[in-house]
């Protein structure tokens, strides 16, 4: 197993994908949050509560949750690359116990996901606190709470990366897998929420569970307001974490079990 993890790390570090991914984390975390804080949520169209309110800070951090498709896509690309470049056969020749290969990949990519999450969270925290200080705004949440929320978002990024790995192992075709993963996380879930009845499922969908982590209710509230339906209640943060954890486990199980007996041609 340590052999396999060393191999997966070598595979990961041999291309520059990981550099690109961490740059993306800094751009989305520091860049996007910094820019939004600079403009101020109160100047958005439609306007959001300002940074000096709790809702305003939660909303800003909650938007970070919507960038989860990036690590998810990275996980999908990593796993499907083996099928796309036909190295899966070589890999399974060197490691015929296939579940171990996927376990090593999950462990390796969990580390990458954590690195992504930490870069995202730390640059976001730095940007938010710096901009707030520069604008002379007192944040609606104490700094330690902001950091705790960002910590939750980091962990959510690990989960999404693993969901991406699991979906990649399931679908195998790189383009198709990317379309499904990005399509669902970027648009699919929002579209689902427009269907009356189905939108009640939102709290237990990945996006809803992620929003629960930061108690980011803006999207859910806006949706129920627009549709004139009952307010969608997000899960408590701990339950949201549990739901996300279940998604990661399911994705991991898919990744471990599916390639077991499949013919590699």
């Amino acid at each position: 197993m340590t052999h396999l993890m060393r191999a997966e790390f070598r595979r990961l570090l041999a291309t520059r994908m990981w550099v690109g991914l961490l740059i993306a984390a800094a751009v989305l975390g520091g860049g996007m949050i910094g820019a939004m804080a600079l403009v101020g949520p109160e100047n958005f169209d439609p306007p959001l509560p300002g940074l000096d309110t709790e809702t305003g800070v939660r909303s800003l951090l909650g938007i970070l949750g919507y960038t989860a498709f990036v690590p998810a896509a990275a996980g999908t690309v990593a796993v499907t690359a083996e099928y796309r470049h036909r190295t899966a056969a070589v890999t399974f020749l060197f490691a015929p116990r296939r579940w171990q290969v996927l376990a090593a990949k999950l462990a390796t990519y969990a580390v990458l996901g954590l690195a992504y999450g930490l870069v995202l969270a730390s640059t976001a925290a730095a940007a938010l606190l710096t901009v707030a200080a520069a604008r002379g705004v007192t944040l609606g949440l104490p700094a330690h709470t902001v950091l705790a929320l960002l910590g939750r978002i980091s962990v959510a990024m690990v989960v999404y990366l693993l969901i991406g790995v699991g979906m990649g192992a399931l679908i195998r075709n790189q383009v198709a897998a990317l379309c499904v993963v990005i399509g669902y996380l970027y648009m699919g879930e929002t579209l689902l929420m427009m269907i009356p009845g189905v939108n009640m499922l939102y709290p237990v969908l990945p996006g809803g569970a992620t929003a629960a982590l930061t108690d980011f209710t803006y999207v859910a509230d806006a949706m129920s307001e627009q549709l004139g339906s009952a307010t969608i209640q997000l899960l408590p943060p701990a339950a949201g974490a549990l739901v996300l954890g279940m998604y990661a486990l399911t994705a991991a199980a898919i990744g471990l079990v599916l390639p077991m007996r499949r013919d590699i041609t």
């Binding site: 060393r6 070598r10 041999a14 190295t87 020749l93 060197f94 490691a95 015929p96 116990r97």
Partner: protein, 312 residues
């Protein structure tokens, strides 16, 4: 250096994909110390068989073992068997060294082996170039290097000569000869029969997923024929026929054209001596080895007698 070889054994192997039977009740063995050619036209089931041998494809029924064990049960799979399938199984963004280092780690083989193989297979200069720019020849070399990482005693190579130029083929023949001489078990598949003719000791011929023939190439090919050009062809043919009756050997003389005979069962010196003894003129004597291609056509069209096609 390998000392004791491992036998590869395929026993009643069958693979069905829905309605299509890719491999049907196939049995053969591959012995160590020699190069065995696994031959058959495209789509005969060679690749499927080799993938079943390495556990990549699950057989519908039957077994495939290496040294008595299925591939997946080997304690050190890549240290026992080196297999090579696809000529393009590389991440285009990886260098040759990256590729080998990934699999060296995976198989638990030392990194020194990577440098060693890059030199041994003539890839040292290309070692740090990304594989996306590799030529077919370089890809085949890198493929072979990957298979050799664990210094395996068994080599299963699917179409290793595909896309190689004559120089590359000569190089490959040298490498494979050396590997077999070390006592390794070497199975190479090919649909280009002329390509492996000078290389193989044993052959396994399949067609439509079924065994056609297996055994030492020399036995399957039979003794060479002699092509005789002579202005006295008719008399010579009659003389040969008479001498055959006296010697009691199996001898066959075919008249190929005017003044041209093909003699089976007697070698060139024998024909020359006989002609001299009877004061018959011979202008040219050519020893004709059976080509693998000819043998293959004979086998698959069923013109060969059963004893030569007998499976071992």
């Amino acid at each position: 250096m390998s000392t004791d070889g491992l036998t590869v054994e395929v026993s009643h192997l069958t693979k069905r994909y829905g309605e299509i039977t890719a491999v049907r009740d196939l049995s053969f063995t591959v012995e160590p110390g020699v190069i065995t050619g696994f031959l058959g036209p495209n789509g005969a089931g060679k690749t499927t068989t080799m993938r079943m041998l390495t556990g990549l494809v699950s057989p519908t029924s039957g077994t495939a073992t290496i040294g008595g064990k299925p591939y997946k049960r080997l304690a050190r799979p890549s240290g026992t068997v080196g297999a090579m399938f696809d000529a393009n199984a590389f991440h285009p963004g990886h260098t040759a060294r990256d590729h080998l280092r990934v699999y060296a780690a995976m198989g638990g083989h030392p990194d020194s082996r990577v440098t060693e193989l890059l030199h041994q297979l003539g890839l040292a200069e290309a070692a740090d170039r990304r594989t996306r720019g590799f030529s077919t020849g370089m890809r085949q070399r890198l493929n072979l290097a990957t298979a050799l990482l664990g210094d395996p005693r068994v080599l299963l190579l699917d179409e290793p000569g595909n896309g190689l130029d004559p120089e590359g083929m000569a190089w490959l023949r040298g490498v494979l000869r050396g590997l077999a001489a070390d006592g390794r078990t070497v199975l190479i598949s090919s649909h280009v029969l002329s390509e492996v003719q000078q290389l193989v000791d044993d052959v396994v011929v399949i067609r439509r997923g079924e065994l056609v023939a297996a055994g030492p190439w020399s036995r399957l090919a039979g003794p060479p024929a002699v092509l005789v050009t002579s202005p006295d062809a008719e008399t010579l043919a009659a003389t040969l026929a008479t001498s055959h009756a006296n010697a009691g050997t199996v001898l066959r003389v075919d008249t190929v054209g005017p003044g041209l005979l093909r003699v089976h069962g007697l070698d060139a010196p024998g024909v020359a001596d006989l002609a001299a003894a009877h004061r018959l003129r011979v202008h040219e004597l050519v020893t004709e080895n059976t080509s693998l291609e000819q043998l293959f056509l004979d086998l698959t069209t069923g013109t060969l007698t059963n004893d030569r096609a007998a499976t071992s």
